[in-house]
Symmetry: C2
Subunit: 270 residues, 2 copies
């Protein structure tokens, strides 16, 4: 491979190889769906049930922030609980000017100790740079998001026929001198995913949007992987976390995660 | 005025009229600059010293998150401490898909009880909508940010010669049926501010970037205000918070805030 394998990419690749998995479980607990289960115990049970089946975990900070201070204590303890050989991607989608971005990087990398984070590109390079400066860590830049309104701005086309999300992918390549950048591309936009993989042949791509959001699993895998059938990180949250609401929820989550992992592998060239 | 005056806009306008002020103090405490002062006590002293001089306060969440859980407890107590007749803008720059955006809205409006928040437009309408649904609250959409790299993406020009940040301003108008949207435009880009004020003649515009970032105060006020010389919200943080590092820091902050308020007023047609 032409690019440097950063510490984060190595952690990801080792976990992916060891667990034979491109599956990332989104740890997004929703109290309304937990039927009075303790949130931290729920997370721990999900982690125990799936940590040999995933290549990464991805808690989205919104779900913890919505629980107030208590939620952030749960988030910190959840990250601490995840085995150190599984990368944890903090889905934060932050984006702010230089000195403020540095404060967010401190929060996400030094306090919560995420191995990687998601960031919004709207403010440009100097909003990303303070995160890249942590060169053992990974940075996933939002490129094409999974939601319906993604097209509002991401499809705006410039004079050269280049869409905004394509410009983001190109710039991310330019910024990737330390090999620690990846992109976020929704499973709900397989054609865009295909194009982005061409623009960035070597980057990890984080792909949310299968399951509840309706993204196509087969196309997400086929278009998302690199030439070695790796580096697509397929996210599932609700379909794993809430596979059962009964006391056997952890076993059900394990069964759902295993089935998904195996289905993903069917579409890889292994 | 042609548009509805939302509850947030009324709160803002009342505070602005009462204190004869377009000044918003950015409550962004940096432990490295506080010389061992207690952060919450520092914030309270700054609020006590300036609450009759401002139209709003704006804590940026990054500075609190960087302090870990303790920082968020300080943030919550800081928001609680601000007099209820001064609006508090949570500078969060969040932007996520629908159900996740709803979780962020819950955190920012229900838990921290901000009167308004800043949001990133990258994900489009459905990432903003859950915040607009709180129709007593305000939403400031990032349009042209104050940083150097703002031009990386915000200046991308479409087939019609429209720049990305201009598209954001236009869309924000479309979305503003409840009259609770505003924009964020950096003081460091006065020409862009002038254009944006033309596109959105009635919206509040939050204008960071004077002081340490070098934005021009006179042009920010002249180009930022609406036809009644109102609705520009000029943010100052470092030049007020750290006007003195001596024990008289609160008095020095008050003097700096008063001078800024009065300088701003010189450029208004009052």
């Amino acid at each position: 491979m032409g690019i440097v394998k950063s510490k984060f990419n190595k952690l990801l690749s080792d976990a992916s190889t060891r667990n034979r998995s491109l599956l990332c479980v989104g740890l997004d607990p929703d109290p309304a769906k937990l039927h009075n289960k303790d949130v931290l115990e729920f997370n721990k049970a999900i982690i125990d049930a799936t940590s040999d089946l995933v290549c990464a975990y991805k808690p989205n900070l919104a779900f913890y922030e919505a629980m107030g201070i208590r939620g952030l204590q749960i988030l910190k303890k959840t990250v601490d609980y995840i085995p150190k050989d599984i990368p944890v991607i903090g889905d934060a989608k932050r984006g702010d000017i230089g000195n403020t971005a540095a404060a967010y990087a401190k929060a996400l990398f030094d306090f919560y100790k995420f191995d990687a984070v998601t960031l919004s590109p709207y403010l440009g390079y100097d909003s990303i740079e303070p995160f890249l400066a942590y060169n053992g860590k990974g940075v996933f830049v939002l490129c094409r998001t999974s939601n319906k309104s993604a097209s509002d701005f991401q499809d705006l086309e410039d004079n050269y026929g280049m869409k905004f999300y394509q410009s983001v992918a190109l710039r991310a390549n330019d910024w990737n001198s330390s090999g620690n950048i990846g992109l976020v591309v929704g499973a709900t936009y397989p054609e865009e995913l295909k194009q982005i993989r061409k623009i960035c042949p070597d980057m990890p791509i984080l792909i949310p949007g299968i399951g509840a959001q309706g993204g196509d699993l087969e196309l997400s895998v086929k278009y998302g992987v690199d030439k070695n059938s790796e580096k697509a990180i397929i996210v599932a949250a609700r379909q794993v976390l809430y596979a059962s609401t009964a006391p056997d929820y952890a076993e059900a989550a394990r069964a759902a995660a295993r089935e998904l992992r195996d289905n993903i592998n069917k579409f890889r060239k292994l």
